[in-house]
C-alpha cells in the first residue's frame, strides 16, 4: 500500500533539509506586456510600432500575385475579372477609411509628442520656480 501523504511529507522535509527551494521570478514581476488587440494599458513603443505599420499598409490593393498550375491560374484570373466590379470599389472604400484612421492616429501621435514636450517644459519651469523660491527665501533671511 503506497502512502502518498507520507511521500509528500518526505519530499517537504528533503526540501527543507537540503535547502532546495529556489527563488524564482514572480509572475507579477514580468516586464510590461504588449496588450495586442485587447487594450488594458498604454504601451508607448507598441503604439508607435502600430502607427508606423498603419502608415505603411493603409492603402490596400485587390490584386495579388496569382500562383498555381496554369489551369488554376486561368480560373483564378477569370474569377478575379468577373468579381472586379464588386471587389474594387469595396477595396477603395476600405482604403479611404484606412487613410482617415491613419490620419487620426498620426494626429494622436503628434499630440502625444507635443504633450511630452509640454510636460518636459513644465518640469523645467517647476524646477526653475523652485530654485527662484529658494533664492528669494535665502535673501529674505539675509
Amino acid at each position: 500500500m503506497v502512502d502518498i501523504e507520507k511521500i509528500m511529507q518526505e519530499i517537504r522535509e528533503e526540501i527543507k533539509e537540503k535547502g532546495l527551494d529556489k527563488e524564482l521570478p514572480a509572475f507579477e514581476s514580468g516586464a510590461p506586456i504588449r496588450c495586442g488587440a485587447v487594450y488594458e494599458c498604454f504601451d508607448e513603443d507598441y503604439f508607435y510600432e502600430n502607427v508606423e505599420q498603419m502608415n505603411q499598409t493603409c492603402l490596400i490593393q485587390p490584386d495579388r500575385p496569382i500562383a498555381g498550375n496554369p489551369i488554376a491560374v486561368l480560373i483564378k484570373k477569370t474569377i478575379r475579372k468577373l468579381t472586379r466590379f464588386y471587389i474594387a470599389p469595396a477595396f477603395c472604400d476600405q482604403s479611404q477609411f484606412n487613410v482617415a484612421a491613419v490620419k487620426a492616429m498620426n494626429s494622436l501621435r503628434y499630440y502625444i509628442d507635443e504633450d511630452r514636450k509640454s510636460k518636459a517644459r513644465i518640469d523645467e519651469l517647476a524646477k526653475r520656480v523652485e530654485e527662484l523660491e529658494k533664492r528669494l527665501e535665502s535673501r529674505g533671511r539675509e
Binding site: 519530499i11 529556489k22 495586442g36 488594458e40
Partner: protein, 355 residues
C-alpha cells in the same frame, strides 16, 4: 411532451457542447421528442446537431426546457418568457475577478453571468449541477429548489480514435512530457505550472518539456504575459499549442508522462477524466471541484511550491509502485464517470422530472 435543451453557444469539442449532445442522445434513447436550440452554433458541428433558437417551435406548459447556464447572455433573462417547465443545467461561472486586466469581454461575460444566475433564482423549478461544488455554489447563490448532481457525460468512445501522427512523430523521444489541457485562462493558473516546470527542468531533469494545450482566443493579453514569464524564467521547451484538433489532443495525452493541473477554479474539469482515461498520472492542486472529480485518486496537493511539485514529479516518474498505485486509483475513479453509470443517473433524474 417535448424536452428541449437551450444554450447560448454550442461549441465544437468543448465539455458543455459534448454534454449537451450526449444528453440529447440519451433523451432520444428514452423515446423523448427532443432538440437542441442555441443562439450561436459552431459551424464545425455536424449539420443538424442544433437549431437556431429563432426556429424554436411553440412549447406548451408541460414541455421541459433544460437550460444550460455557464456565462452571461441575454438568454439568462429571456429564458423565463418561454412557456414550459424550466430546469437549469449549471456548469458554473468563472469568478469575473480572474479576468480583470486581461480581457474586458470575459470580465463582462462572467460578471453578467453572475447577475443572470441571481436573476434566475426562484424562476427554475429544479437544477442539475455538474458537481457537488457547483451545487454548493447554487445554494450559496440562494437557490432553494431541488438540486441534483449530474456529472458531465464524457463520450469516452471518441478517445479511441487515432492520435495525430505528426504530433507523435515530432515529440516521440526519451524526454519527460508534462501536460496540461485547458484553455489559456487566468483561473487555470498556467503560470504556476510554468514555474514548477522551470524548477523541474533547471534542477531535476533538463530533458523535459511542458505542453500547455488549449486555445488562448479572447485571452491574448494573459497569453502574452505567460510568454513573457517564460522568458523571465529563462526556461525552454514550453509549448503553447494554441487551439488544437481533437486528434492532436489525443496525441498529447499519448505523449504525456504527467498531467499537472494548478487550476484554482473548475466546475468539474473534464481533462482530469481524460488523463485518467489515458493512464496519465495526475498531480493537481486541491481547489474548487478538482478534489471532488479526483475523488481521492491521483495526487492532490495543497502546495504550489515549485521545488515541491518538481520533486513530486520526479518521485512519481521514478517510483514505479507509486506510479502504478496512482494510475490504478485513477482507473477505479474513472469507473464512476463511465457512460453507463452517468446514463443511469440521467435517466433517473429525467424520470423524476417527468413524473
Amino acid at each position: 411532451m417535448r424536452i428541449v435543451q437551450i444554450l447560448s453557444t454550442i461549441a465544437f469539442g468543448d465539455a458543455v457542447g459534448n454534454h449537451t449532445i450526449a444528453m440529447r442522445r440519451l433523451l432520444e434513447e428514452l423515446g423523448y421528442d427532443t432538440e437542441i436550440y442555441a443562439q450561436n452554433i459552431d459551424h464545425r458541428l455536424k449539420k443538424g446537431t442544433a437549431k437556431s433558437i429563432d426556429h424554436l417551435k411553440i412549447l406548451n406548459k408541460r414541455d421541459i426546457i433544460l437550460y444550460h447556464m455557464s456565462m452571461g447572455t441575454d438568454l439568462n433573462y429571456s429564458i423565463v418568457n418561454y412557456p414550459g417547465r424550466k430546469i437549469m443545467v449549471y456548469h458554473n461561472i468563472t469568478p469575473y475577478q480572474y479576468f480583470y486586466g486581461y480581457s474586458k469581454a470575459n470580465y463582462d461575460l462572467t460578471y453578467m453571468g453572475r447577475d443572470g444566475l441571481n436573476f434566475l433564482k426562484g424562476k427554475v423549478e429544479r437544477c442539475f449541477a455538474d458537481s457537488e461544488f457547483n451545487k454548493t455554489d447554487l445554494i450559496e447563490a440562494g437557490y432553494t429548489c431541488p438540486i441534483d448532481v449530474l456529472p458531465i457525460i464524457v463520450p469516452f468512445d471518441d478517445y479511441e480514435k487515432a492520435p495525430n501522427q505528426r504530433v507523435l512523430r515530432q515529440y516521440e523521444d526519451d524526454w519527460v512530457n508534462i501536460l496540461f489541457v485547458g484553455r489559456i485562462a487566468p483561473n487555470k493558473k498556467q503560470e504556476d505550472i510554468i514555474r514548477a516546470f522551470a524548477y523541474y527542468k533547471a534542477y531535476v531533469n533538463p530533458k523535459s518539456r511542458l505542453f500547455l494545450v488549449g486555445s488562448y482566443k479572447g485571452l491574448e493579453a494573459y497569453y502574452r504575459k505567460l510568454q513573457q514569464y517564460v522568458r523571465d524564467l529563462g526556461v525552454g521547451d514550453v509549448v503553447f499549442t494554441g487551439h488544437t484538433k481533437f486528434d492532436e489532443i489525443l496525441a498529447y495525452y499519448k505523449l504525456a508522462d504527467v498531467f499537472l493541473c494548478m487550476s484554482e477554479h473548475e466546475g468539474f474539469c473534464v481533462p482530469l477524466l481524460e488523463a485518467m482515461y489515458f493512464d496519465v498520472p495526475i498531480i493537481a492542486y486541491k481547489a474548487a471541484a478538482v478534489p471532488e472529480t479526483l475523488g481521492g485518486s491521483a495526487i492532490a496537493v495543497d502546495d504550489k511550491q515549485p521545488a515541491f511539485i518538481a520533486k513530486l514529479i520526479e518521485r512519481l516518474l521514478n517510483d514505479r509502485a507509486l506510479r502504478e498505485a496512482v494510475v490504478k486509483g485513477q482507473q477505479e475513479r474513472l469507473k464512476d464517470f463511465s457512460y453507463d453509470r452517468t446514463k443511469e443517473t440521467f435517466k433517473r433524474l429525467i424520470s423524476d422530472c417527468v413524473r
